[in-house]
């Protein structure tokens, strides 16, 4: 097992909403510009200027992995990621339905599920994001705390959005 596994950490407050990450992710993996094929997607609440990049959390106890009936999904502990074996995958899309973050995608043309593979340890989204709103860092205690803080802010933002909606 890798001593200090790294993870994608998202600091949504820094995100400028430019979607360059979506562009480079799809070009890197498919040679095409197409956000529908990106593993990262910036969710926007434009009317309040809120942009939240969403991608795979590489869960330890991954729902996608647990639900897969043919065990096509497994954990790669070296890069601390969850990977899909396309030779085993039967395209049932159970993983797509069960991922709590919407991070498992499905390509209707290729008929394949796809997810973030951390670009094999050299994440293109991070390489291109000048703001480092997505970053690739060692999962130290600090990082976990930061994530918790960020999540709390997301939750607050959701509450604010709900309040705003109920006012209308």
């Amino acid at each position: 097992m890798h001593a200090n596994p790294k993870a994608l950490v998202i600091n949504y407050e820094k995100c400028t909403g430019c979607r360059l990450c979506e562009l480079v992710c799809s070009v890197h993996h498919h040679g095409v510009s197409n956000p529908a094929k990106s593993r990262i997607k910036v969710e926007k609440w434009e009317w309040e200027g809120l942009y939240i990049p969403m991608s795979c959390k590489q869960c330890i106890d991954a729902p996608c992995m647990n639900v897969c009936p043919v065990k096509a999904i497994s954990r790669d502990e070296i890069l601390s990621r969850v990977v899909v074996d396309h030779n085993l995958c039967i395209g049932c899309r159970s993983c797509v339905a069960v991922c709590p973050f919407g991070a498992m995608g499905f390509d209707p043309v290729e008929k394949k599920v796809f997810k973030c593979d951390l670009c094999d340890g050299d994440p293109k989204c991070v390489y291109f994001c000048d703001e480092k709103a997505v970053d690739y860092v060692e999962v130290s205690r600090e990082a976990l705390l930061r994530k918790r803080e960020a999540a709390e802010k997301i939750a607050q933002a959701h509450r604010r959005a709900v309040e705003l909606m109920s006012e209308i």
């Binding site: 407050e13 430019c18 979607r19 360059l20 890197h28 200027g49 293109k124 291109f128």
Partner: protein, 647 residues
């Protein structure tokens, strides 16, 4: 493939929709975006038509590199005959509409006719539908967009929309997308309104194949570094465009009280730092936002800090808003600028035009040409913040006499108001100047006088002329990709070599507008930013098309000449006070009263100006007297048989 995007012809009168591929030869001649739009407009717009008639084609497009890896490939271009000037109507905006249009399968839309009731166009993955817009009509720019997303059940739908100002045919209404991205200038939103077209909604998940993905990715990274390390863009990324207003005001280059002064005093509350502070306080530390794939991020997110719109979310302001609702109207309040910004974004109107018109009306009021009876009881004094906000609403709603008159644009309004009013109007070709004062800067004066869409800073402004760059540096920039060994001067007050700089910048801007890249990513405000050579590389890596920098330059020349042909057909002659390449008299007769020592007391020397203009025509291959492209020039550029009706 990036080059496989189609063109769609949509007739709103008959409901007929036709699509065609865009032949590669057309790409090689006109690229896409603004360049190909110019070809389409010249071919689809009959001479002399009423801009509000169904025959006026509304052309919407994405540039050649939109959606690809070339940094900030976000730009939408829109063209039609302008209801404001009766000449070339043309505007460009960032945001996320153009890439979505390409993912949905299209590059150019030519929309003709007029729907018998409000409609919107829905474009998704190669399909186009015309749909009922009963529920959208009357809605503000943002309300309409959120409502159509709800109707279509997809939060990722992107829209190009006209606001209430466009519906009411305010002749300088914008097309808009998102919160603030605006195709301002020349009233393209009013053309939408005249067609009963509220909005174009797009959503696409189709691949844009990148020719050489690995190289495109790596080159893009270098490109971005070149762009983000430029000092000007770093400042832009923190303060947004307001920093330009601040810098310009400091030496005396902004119009104040219409055209009476050239520097705003007591301006602390409208300095860029103040807006930065407000955005920090009302939104947070990380408040800058970017357009598609852009790492400059010049757009501030903020909430209105006070007043009747307190708490409303908006983006901006821009340096043009500071000009429109501070310096030109003699106001010094951040709140007025931010409120004006918000109202204009919601109504969908060009604040450059509007602020400038309000400032003009204020001077008329000061001179007694307009009275309190004409203004409907508004005390239209310079510096009256409330009056400015009131006038914004009255013009956009056309609900008072003066509001309705100003909504017609400067030239028509001057005709209605009469007396000496035209003398005070600051315009070129019937389009108002932005907030800048070009009296100390001959290059910028020539730029606004000859810009193809009327007084404008985004067609040919060699802004780095203001930096006092050493001559060798200037030479390096301006003798590429075509040789130039004439004079160049580091002094912005000089007339030497300025015609060439304006000419150069004109080709530079045409190239980026046709590629669909933002101008802040090009040699404009920064001397080290990308230009022709870099673009040939990004074009190649992304699309596989090969050009030399010289070829790209020639394409830009060709496209600029198409615009010129359109304007000439609509009646442009060099000295025509309403349709010409000429400044209003005040530029020549009233010296500046404020500013830095080398700026105070200057005005444009008419004779030198006219000589400079002749020189500029000569570089273009235009007749020095008529300003029209010579037969030789048209043959050289291969456009001697236009209109050729190939598309």
């Amino acid at each position: 493939m990036a080059l496989s995007r189609r063109i769609a012809y949509i007739d709103l009168s008959t409901g007929k929709i036709e699509t065609k591929p865009i032949p590669i030869e057309m790409r090689r001649k006109f690229l896409g975006g603004r360049g190909l739009d110019a070809y389409l407009l010249y071919n689809h717009c009959e001479k002399g038509i009423d801009p509000f008639s169904p025959e006026n084609p509304l052309i919407v497009s994405a540039g050649l590199l939109v959606g690809t890896l070339a940094s900030a490939t976000s730009r939408t271009h829109v063209m039609a005959k302008s209801p404001l000037t009766g000449m070339l109507g043309s505007c460009n905006m960032g945001g996320f509409f153009a890439p979505e249009l390409r993912w949905a399968g299209f590059d150019h839309l030519v929309i003709k006719g007029k729907a018998d009731k409000p409609v919107y166009i829905w474009i998704h993955n190669g399909e186009i539908e015309i749909r009922d817009a009963k529920n959208l009509w009357g809605k503000s720019v943002t309300e309409a967009q959120w409502a159509v997303r709800e109707e279509l059940g997809d939060p990722d739908v992107k829209c190009l929309v006209c606001g209430p100002a466009g519906e009411k045919l305010v002749r300088f209404a914008n097309v808009m997308t998102g919160i603030k991205n605006a195709g301002g200038r020349t009233g393209m939103g009013a053309v939408m309104g005249s067609k009963n077209l509220k909005l174009i909604a797009v959503r696409g998940t189709m691949d844009i194949k990148i020719a050489y993905p690995k190289e495109a990715l790596e080159f893009n990274k270098r490109f971005i570094e070149q762009i983000t390390t430029a000092k000007v863009n770093q400042t832009m990324g923190i303060l947004g465009t307001p920093f330009i207003w601040g810098a310009t005001n400091s030496w005396g280059g902004v119009r104040v009280n219409n055209f009476q002064y050239n520097q705003l005093l007591y301006a602390d509350d409208v300095e860029p730092e103040r807006f930065h502070e407000i955005a920090n306080e009302t939104f947070g530390k990380y408040h800058m936002a970017g357009c598609f794939a852009c790492q400059v991020h010049c757009r501030a997110r903020y909430r209105i800090p006070d007043g009747p719109y307190k708490g409303c979310y908006d983006e901006g302001p821009e340096y043009t808003t500071q000009g429109a609702f501070a310096s030109e109207v003699g106001c010094t309040s951040a709140l007025t600028v931010l409120t004006g910004n918000y109202l204009c974004n919601q109504y969908g109107v060009d604040w450059l035009e509007l602020g400038s018109l309000i400032a003009w009306a204020m001077e008329l009021y000061e001179k007694g040409i307009l009275t309190i009876r004409d203004t409907g009881g508004i005390d239209l004094r310079f510096g009256n913040d409330e009056a400015v906000i009131e006038m914004i609403k009255h013009v956009c709603e056309r609900d008072t006499w003066l509001g309705d008159v100003l909504a017609e644009g400067g030239l028509k309004a001057a005709e209605i108001i009469g007396r000496d009013s035209i003398k005070y109007l600051i315009h070129v070709k019937g389009m108002q100047n932005l907030h800048s004062d070009e009296r100390p800067t001959p290059a910028l004066a020539l730029n606004i006088a000859t810009a193809s869409r009327g007084s404008d800073h985004l067609r040919s402004r060699p802004a780095i002329d203001l930096y006092h760059l050493p001559e060798p540096v200037l030479r390096k920039i301006y003798s590429n990709p075509v040789p130039y060994d004439g004079p160049l001067s580091s002094d912005f007050r000089s007339y030497e070599g300025k015609a060439w700089q304006v000419f150069w910048q004109e080709q530079c801007f045409m190239a980026v507008d046709s590629l669909g890249i933002c101008k802040y990513h090009t040699t404009f405000l920064g001397a080290t930013l990308p230009n022709f050579e870099d673009w040939t590389k990004v074009i190649y890596y992304n699309t596989g098309l090969e050009f030399t920098p010289q070829e790209l330059w020639t394409i830009a020349e060709r496209c600029n000449n198409m615009e010129r042909l359109f304007n000439i057909r609509e009646g442009l002659t060099p000295d025509d006070p309403f349709k010409g390449d000429i400044l209003v008299d005040r530029y020549f007769t009233e010296p500046t009263k404020r500013g830095a020592p080398d700026v105070i007391g200057t005005c444009i020397d008419r004779e030198k100006f006219l000589k400079m203009r002749e020189e500029f025509y000569r570089y273009h291959g235009w007749d020095e007297k008529t300003g029209a492209p010579t037969e030789e020039t048209l043959i050289r550029l291969g456009i001697d048989n236009e209109p050729s009706h190939l598309l």
